[in-house]
């Protein structure tokens, strides 16, 4: 599975959203992405990419697009 597929699947499974919703997805824009959903998402991302995210990055991950930027810049994950 490619990194972008892993990334998308993490959002879909942990936030209970569809693939069509992903690109415009922001924190608290859907019911599933509340604070609890956010921590579930972080746990899944850490698991699938084998990383441990810093608290600052967890707070900054405010959208689907921002998440890609954080993973690329701070964790060397290529999309």
């Amino acid at each position: 599975m490619t990194n972008i597929n892993k990334y998308n699947e993490s959002f879909i499974t942990s936030l209970q959203v569809t693939g069509e919703q992903l690109t415009s997805l922001t924190y608290q824009s859907v019911e599933g992405w509340d604070s609890v959903g956010h921590m579930n998402l972080i746990a899944v991302l850490e698991e699938v990419f084998d990383i441990m995210m810093e608290t600052d990055d967890i707070i900054d991950l405010s959208s689907y697009e921002k998440g890609k930027e954080i993973l690329t810049t701070n964790y060397d994950i290529e999309f």
Binding site: A43, E46, E47, M52, M53, E54, T55
Partner: protein, 249 residues
């Protein structure tokens, strides 16, 4: 008696002396592998670690950082994370005491005390609890103080920081319970350490007089309660503040 922490990996802060050093010794005797956090490198400390490791068939890894320096703490935590091992226990022991009446304690000094006695504990707990969340298991104990519960004249900054630690212990225990992580605090009374030896003699004696058991506690008497709280013996205890004070108050 079985070793209560056999095969468990534990992070302890403040291992150079006092309650931290004694806890490291008690945990080592009970089979724990230990990330022993300390403020600075010290030859006696490293000799103690080597001796404890050899005697108990465990590993102890020193991790050095300064609680007043956030970047230094982060570096220390990243070293622990890079080991990629499960962490079963965290005891936040390191801290500072500051004595000063309310009207004689500057806001700058209060911030300094909070930095060391509260914010650094929060940062360490954020890092270590992330590892515990991954494994859905763990026990965290914060060393608070009876001053954080009862107040203590001349310790406004210290007691307020410890009260903050107590409040956060309760909230974090609620948030992390779903991940199988227990979070408790231990509130020592007068324990014979360098910190309490720094108290004025009359204050020290007055505090001891208030206890039902009229003496100061030994660090080992605190360490044994920590052993209980980190071990599986306390598997259904969370969000609690345990006084170890000989019955003060």
């Amino acid at each position: 008696m079985d070793k209560l922490l056999a095969n468990k990996n534990v992070v302890l802060t403040g291992c150079l002396r006092g309650i931290g050093k004694t806890t490291m010794e008690v945990f080592a005797r009970n089979g724990a592998n230990i990330f022993a956090c300390a403020q600075y490198q010290d030859i006696d400390f490293e000799n103690t670690i080597q001796k404890l490791s050899a005697e108990n068939g465990i590993w102890i890894k020193p991790i050095y950082f300064d609680l007043s320096d956030i970047e230094s703490i982060k570096t220390g935590m990243r070293m622990i994370i890079s080991e990629k091992v499960q962490i079963d226990g965290l005891v936040n022991i390191a801290g500072m005491v500051y004595n000063g009446l309310f009207q004689m304690t500057s806001i700058e000094k209060m911030k300094e005390v909070f930095e060391i006695d509260f914010f650094s504990q929060m940062l360490i707990t954020q890092y270590i609890s992330k590892i515990m969340m991954k494994y859905k298991s763990g026990s965290i104990v914060n060393i608070a103080s009876i001053a954080g519960i009862d107040g203590n004249p001349g310790q406004v900054a210290y007691s307020a920081a410890k009260a903050a630690l107590i409040g956060s212990t309760k909230t974090i225990s609620i948030e992390l319970g779903q991940y199988g992580i227990r979070v408790n605090a231990l509130a020592p009374g007068v324990i014979l350490t360098d910190m309490t030896r720094a108290l004025p003699e009359d204050k020290f004696n007055n505090l001891i007089k208030k206890a039902e058991i009229p003496r100061a506690g030994e660090p080992e008497e605190v360490a044994k309660v920590l052993l209980y709280l980190i071990s599986d013996l306390s598997s259904y205890i969370t969000g609690q503040i345990i006084r170890v004070d000989g019955g003060i108050g």
